[in-house]
């Protein structure tokens, strides 16, 4: 595309099928301890 650069074409919807396994890190155990930040956590799959 000439006008648009898609830097993430991920479809969140598609993560529902295999998602929710619950294996990923609890966000507050990473660094924050005071401010919930889930979007920067890693998926375990």
């Amino acid at each position: 595309m000439k006008h648009i650069n898609t830097i993430s074409g991920r479809s969140l919807k598609s993560t529902i099928a295999k998602g929710g396994c619950g294996e990923c890190q609890t966000s507050c155990q990473s660094a924050c301890k005071t401010s919930c930040t889930v979007g920067n956590q890693k998926c375990e799959r």
Binding site: N5, I7, G9, S11, Q29, K33, C36, C43
Partner: protein
């Protein structure tokens, strides 16, 4: 809100909220998108023909249409029916191994370490039982997390060591994997415990606020002196010995250092490359609390930091700032993004006596006691309340573009400010939104 458009660090960025797609667009697409839902192509051409050639408008419009057809732009919200954790699995514990501290930080949410109760160390037997409770309640989850927290956990380090050893036994017996982490103020660090920490902890969080004067104003020793000169050499040594293993130097900023980007950069300059500096959690009556009137300064500060962050990364001198980290392609699934941090459901805090609370921030507030590790969760009503508090049920989150990134924010912040875990803490929301924008703009700049 299904779309979020913002301009930062030289980029026009369009976030399609429901798909999670992110696009960097030129000026013509930026202008067309603003009109796209309300006007036909003919009317858009009419509106923009004085600014752009008609052929360019048509070309850009077609590109937008392609994305819409592929559900990457103007994507409608899916009906989500999430039955969160019906088996009541618990997979992470914050273990308060010491309700005591050897610093008296002014802003401490734990009331200088004792959480408004007695100064206590967790007995080994309580710690062991906590690990057993975790294994028993973990269902089919393989990865279990235990954070050694306080107060100051190094004040009870023998118990920490024995609990790690016990955890390794349980891992083998039950086919689990414990990820141990520790959060420390560094005062008691020495060669022995550094070695143990580096060998056994998946992550270590080192508390340090940044510039010496900023750190020492809040993080004081028991006799009132600053802690900076004691802890910095120890932290540097630990990090050097740690190699590639994960750690964070974690600071807190308050109304006293609204220019906190200087603290982040100072930490980097000192030799740390994995940094988190976060806003203080404090009621408005405290002098150091973050208030609405500070917000504009703070948001500008985040943006300023993001520009510097890009500059340093591009110069090969980059570092990681926790709140600017975002993985747009491999991040958490939608379900995780909806349910949030898991406090009070899959994540709980354990006091030295063995009492269970939804998370470390609620410890000491009797109203939030969930049960204990000997009999399990007895306050089912409370667990249900936490289970239901998510971005689909919180009215303010439903319409917010950032809902799948902050996941409803921190329950404790919501409760501290609004006495209701379902009513998000507004100042926190504004800061989080800015941090997400900064993080995306950093990716958009190829960093």
């Amino acid at each position: 809100m299904n779309m979020h458009m913002f301009q930062m660090n030289g980029k026009n960025i369009v976030l399609d909220v429901n798909s999670g797609a992110v696009h960097v667009v030129d000026e013509i697409v930026w202008d067309i998108i603003k009109l796209y839902e309300d006007k036909s192509l003919e009317l858009i051409i009419d509106d923009l023909k004085n600014k752009y050639d008609e052929s360019d408008i048509v070309e850009a419009y077609k590109e937008i249409q392609t994305l819409v057809d592929n559900e990457l732009l103007f994507t409608k919200e899916e009906e989500l029916d999430i039955n969160y954790n019906p088996q009541n699995i618990v997979k992470a514990l914050c273990l308060h191994v010491a309700h005591d501290c050897n610093l008296k930080c002014e802003y401490c949410f734990a009331s200088q370490g004792d959480f408004k109760g007695q100064r206590l160390l967790m007995p080994l037997e309580v710690g062991k039982r906590a690990l057993e409770f975790l294994v028993e309640n973990s269902g089919n989850r393989k990865n279990l997390e235990v954070d050694f927290f306080g107060g100051e956990p190094l004040m009870n380090f023998d118990v920490v060591k024995k609990l790690v050893e016990y955890g390794r036994e349980l891992e083998k017996k039950y086919n689990k994997r414990f990820r141990f982490t520790i959060t420390t103020n560094g005062i008691l660090l020495n060669d022995d415990n550094m070695k143990f920490i580096n060998e056994n902890m998946d992550n270590v969080v080192l508390s340090l606020d940044g510039r010496k004067e900023v750190n020492d104003r809040m993080r004081k020793t028991l006799n009132g002196n600053g802690s900076f000169d004691i802890i910095v050499p120890k932290f540097l040594k630990l990090v050097k010995l740690r190699g590639d293993k994960t750690y964070y130097v974690r600071g807190t900023f308050t109304s006293y250092n609204l220019d906190f980007s200087k603290d982040v950069l100072k930490l980097h300059e000192m030799g740390f490359d994995s940094i988190s500096v976060e806003p203080v959690v404090a009621s408005p009556e405290n002098d150091y609390a973050i208030l609405e009137e500070h917000l504009e300064t703070i948001l500008n500060e985040y943006e300023k930091l993001s520009s510097k962050y890009i500059e340093l990364k591009k110069a090969g001198k980059g570092f990681e700032f926790f709140h600017f980290m975002i993985d747009l392609n491999q991040g958490p699934c939608l379900i995780k993004r909806v349910v949030g941090c898991g406090a009070g459901v899959e994540y709980m805090a354990v006091t030295p006596e063995g009492d269970l609370y939804p998370c470390h921030q609620f410890v000491g507030d009797e109203e939030f006691k969930m049960g204990d590790i000997f009999t399990g969760v007895t306050n089912e009503k409370l667990r249900e309340k936490f289970k239901r508090a998510n971005v689909l049920t919180k009215s303010e989150c439903k319409e917010c573009w950032a809902r799948f990134y902050c996941s409803g924010g921190c329950h404790a912040n919501a409760y501290n400010f609004n006495k209701d875990i379902t009513k998000p803490y507004k100042i926190g929301c504004e800061m989080e939104k800015k941090r997400i924008e900064c993080a995306i703009s950093i990716v958009a700049n190829g960093c």
